[in-house]
């Protein structure tokens, strides 16, 4: 999958099981909130950078992008804390947030989507007890990703069709004349897709009982 945030590198961090990495992330979050001091947050940030840039050999840009996106928010947060409380609490809050976001980004960048999906399926396994079918998660993923380009294409088609009949409506009218019909078309398509899936053996019960639609 080309659009994923995974960064392929042959590193020990990449090879760690996804479940272990997720547990580490959760443990880090618990630690940062249980021991709210700048020293702990600072050490955690250094640790995260060592793991991410050192052990996992991620490009600096991958993490810098995350930090950069937060820059104004972190600045405002620091100022608010400095004015209403003190500089130490400001520094600590900013460090804690930055650390968590970066650590999460490290996990995402070092773990393939397919491995994450396996964790999701594992987590969904208890659903079996209540009649759920966690193995359908893969099908749901596939369909959702497949629908994205179809959806964009249909939206363009509706826009073009309306342009051909004298310009696309704007504002509130567009909701009723463009968005709603698009959604109806898409629901119909989803229905057709489900028929096609059933025709290829997706379900084991009749889709419609007599009298149903």
């Amino acid at each position: 999958m080309t659009l994923a945030l995974y960064v392929p590198v042959a590193s020990p961090v990449h090879r760690l099981p996804a479940g272990v990495k997720l547990l580490c992330l959760a443990a880090l979050a618990v630690l940062l909130f249980a021991r709210p001091t700048p020293a702990v947050a600072g050490a955690a940030l250094v640790g995260t950078l060592v793991v991410g840039l050192g052990a996992a050999r991620l490009p600096v840009a991958v993490l810098a992008r995350q930090a950069w996106a937060l820059r104004w928010f972190l600045l405002v947060l620091f100022v608010v804390h400095a004015l209403t409380a003190d500089v130490v609490s400001g520094a600590h809050t900013v460090l804690r947030l930055l650390t968590l976001v970066l650590a999460a980004a490290v996990v995402t960048a070092t773990t393939r989507v397919s491995e994450m999906v396996r964790v999701v399926e594992l987590l969904g396994a208890p659903l079996r007890l209540v009649g759920g079918r966690p193995e359908r998660v893969g099908l749901l993923f596939a369909m959702a990703l497949r629908f994205v380009p179809v959806l964009i294409e249909r939206a363009d088609r509706i826009r073009a069709a309306q342009a051909a009949r004298g310009g696309a409506p704007r504002g509130l009218r567009a909701l009723r004349t463009t968005v709603a019909p698009l959604l109806v078309q898409l629901l119909q398509m989803a229905h057709d897709v489900s028929e096609a899936l059933d025709a290829r053996g997706a379900d084991d019960v009749p889709v419609r009982r007599p009298g149903g639609a």
Binding site: L139, R146, D192, A199, R200, P206
Partner: protein, 246 residues
Amino acid sequence: MRFRRSPAATADTDVAEPGRGIELRGVGHRYGDRVVLEGIDLQLTEPRVGVIGANGSGKSTFARLLNGLVLPTQGQVLVDGLDTRTQVRAVRRRVGFVFQDPDAQIVHPTVAEDVAYGLENQGVPPDERAARVAEALERYGLAGHADHPAHLLSGGQKQLLAIAGVLVMQPARVVFDEPTTLLDLVNARRVAELIAGLEQQVVVVTHHLDLLDGFDRVLVVDGGRVVEDAPPGPAVAAYRTLAERR
């Protein structure tokens, strides 16, 4: 009489009788108050069966009855003696279904994954699955596209992919619902040739009358009833007369 059991279908097809073909007994279908089909009694055993009729005549519902996508509200549909209402899984394994719009049929992001989908449902082991997918891609001219995103294929390629995804499951019969309606002349011809070359029994619902050349039997559906049941020549003539009377 041949009595070949498809290996994947053994679980619930103990009573299948392949010689009987597709039978419709007193079949009717309605959505709420609207009658879509009524009074249909047919036995389809011919290798090539065509279904023609105006838009809204009930053709698509007819096609969907044949593999249990739609269940009759009246009467019975039997495929090789299996009732679509009680043995829908077994029926669907015997009857493949190709839709008009391939976009509605392709559910996986890449070509090979999509072809493999039906085989996964049948529980075909991974090695055999990979081999059959590769063979199907080769046969339908998609070998170079195995890992391509499905949405980047052309309309004609998408329909070939949809067909490959159905035929890879080796159904005993295949229903096509307007398979060439959205295709240009070249691709329509390609699909027509592909259909002509199939070993399976084929039921084709279509507006492209030349698709029916060499067919054994053609049904004309009008107002929810089968109004003509004949070889292609007379059936198409009857359909033309019907259209002119409108």
